[in-house]
């Protein structure tokens, strides 16, 4: 594929103490500037894949190329500068004692000069709307705010790709919106490539493309609209479908006529109305 920023070719992986493969012959390409959602239930291999993209695991077979760099022990630090990660637990990735120290941590690791560091910390916090919290300590922040700081820490390093590994799964609904809106605006501004790994299909619905993983393999991929047409199949994979899709199914079960599984409430209502009520 042309202009792939990430190429995963026929990758398999096995944890040292396990017989089963966590990933089996996975091939995936991510376009520059794309928002890709990788969904799957717990144990589907999605977290293993995330860790591999950051060089926290290496494939047993196959190759991974990120921003033109083949994943290897020599390249791993360069790759980590290109691809930043936001993890699930907001507390367990907050290294600094205050917001600004945390954002600076990654810059310090990469030997950025002090003066430039100050500027980059400020700039990154502006982008996530957290400048008012510069000297705040993490235990005074909400989960959503901590995740926004984690995002700032990533973008301060000016990566090409940001990878969200279930970054919203421990947040309340307000925090989830807060984080997703932040990601959306940064992606648009910076032209970043976003990969979000999630079991929340509402979150996946915001992506350009969805990949469904099951038992370590790619089960299917497509646009969110296309994926959600598979409602019953998704449920058997242990995934939930967004409300309008579920509502479509329930209405169809009640004998109403629908042209397809709908994706937004407005379209669904319109469809129900025109096909069943308008005479």
């Amino acid at each position: 594929m042309k202009d792939s920023i990430i190429s995963i070719d026929d990758v398999s992986f096995q944890y040292p103490d396990q017989t089963a493969f966590a990933l089996q012959h996975v091939s995936l390409h991510v376009q520059r500037g794309e928002w890709l959602a990788i969904v799957g239930h717990n144990g589907s291999g999605k977290s293993t894949l995330a860790k591999m993209l950051n060089g926290l695991h290496y494939p047993k077979e196959g190759t991974v190329t990120i921003s033109g760099l083949a994943l290897s022990e020599e390249n791993v630090w360069a790759i980590r500068e290109k691809l930043g990660m936001v993890f699930q637990n907001p507390d367990n990735q907050f290294v600094g004692t205050t917001v600004q120290d945390d954002v600076a941590f990654g810059l310090e690791n990469n030997g950025v000069e002090q003066k430039e560091m100050k500027e980059r910390v400020q700039e990154a916090l502006e982008k996530v709307g957290m400048t008012a919290f510069l000297n705040q300590e993490p235990h005074h922040l909400s989960g959503g705010q901590k995740q926004r700081v984690a995002i700032a820490s990533v973008i301060a390093l000016r990566p090409d790709i940001i990878l969200l590994d279930e970054a919203t799964s421990m947040l309340d609904p307000a925090g989830r919106d807060e984080v997703m809106n932040t990601i959306r605006s940064i992606k648009d501004e910076e032209g970043l490539t976003v990969i979000s790994i999630t079991h929340d299909l509402e979150e996946a619905a915001k992506a350009d493309r969805v990949v469904v993983l099951n038992q370590g393999s790619v089960y299917t991929e497509g646009s969110p609209q296309a994926i959600f047409q598979l409602d019953q199949e998704l449920l058997t994979l242990g995934l939930d479908v967004p409300f309008p899709v579920r509502m479509s199914q329930l209405l169809a079960d009640e004998g109403l006529i629908l042209s397809q599984r709908h994706f937004t409430e407005e379209e669904l209502v319109k469809d129900v109305w025109t096909l069943n009520f308008k005479k």
């Binding site: 980590r80 290294v95 205050t98 990654g106 030997g111 300590e137 235990h139 820490s153």
Partner: protein, 265 residues
Amino acid sequence: MMEKIILGRYLPLNSVVHRMDPRAKLLFIFGFVFVVFLANNVLTYALLGVFTLFVIVLSNIKIQFLMTGLKPVIWLILFTFLLHVFFTKEGEVLAQLGFLSIYKGGVIKGAFISLRFLLLIFVTSLLTLTTPPISVTDGIESLFGPLKRVKVPVHELALMMSISLRFIPTLLDETDKIMKAQMARGADFTSGSLTSRIKAVIPLLIPLFVSAFKRAEELAVAMEARGYRGGEGRTKYRVLAWHGRDTAALLVLVALAAALFGLRS
């Protein structure tokens, strides 16, 4: 319960003491520990007391607040006092309690030592109350910097300290949560014999350890993902700045030491 402890807490106020370089404060306290031992009579202790009071006033921290923070150690001070009162046999006898005699020298010595203790607690509390913990760590890292040459892992130790500081509130919260969850299941942490109380802590400690290990593991992964690979080639975000007032503070301490030296008997 935990919220009453002031040692290790930081009060973000604006004062000249707050603005001092943490290295100067650390050196000052280190020096003060020795200077306190120079006092040995009423005059020198009075001078020390007035001096400490002056520093407290400079820091803008209410003395009542420091007093409430004394509560956990008040028994220790009292115990030290009584120990001297009962076991020092100097000067005239003030009172006779059965087989115990109380000597004037004992009371004076007890009072002096308690006061010395008190002053040390005040001044060290002032350090943490006026300095963000991260600055204390930075100060220590910088002061011990030369030890890197003899292969002391100063950077790693400082990082460990700052991460511990960062996680103390998180772990305290967690302790509170687990404690409440176990109390809701009928656990009793406050009554019963010593052995039953020690046993009661197990349902608290095990979940706490399990979670701390999990946190440590995740944190290590997150640090690696953000490019942490040891102190080599690392820059520092926080830069310490030594001002005239820092030098002045240390000179004042030297002057105090000289005065005490002159006035001690």
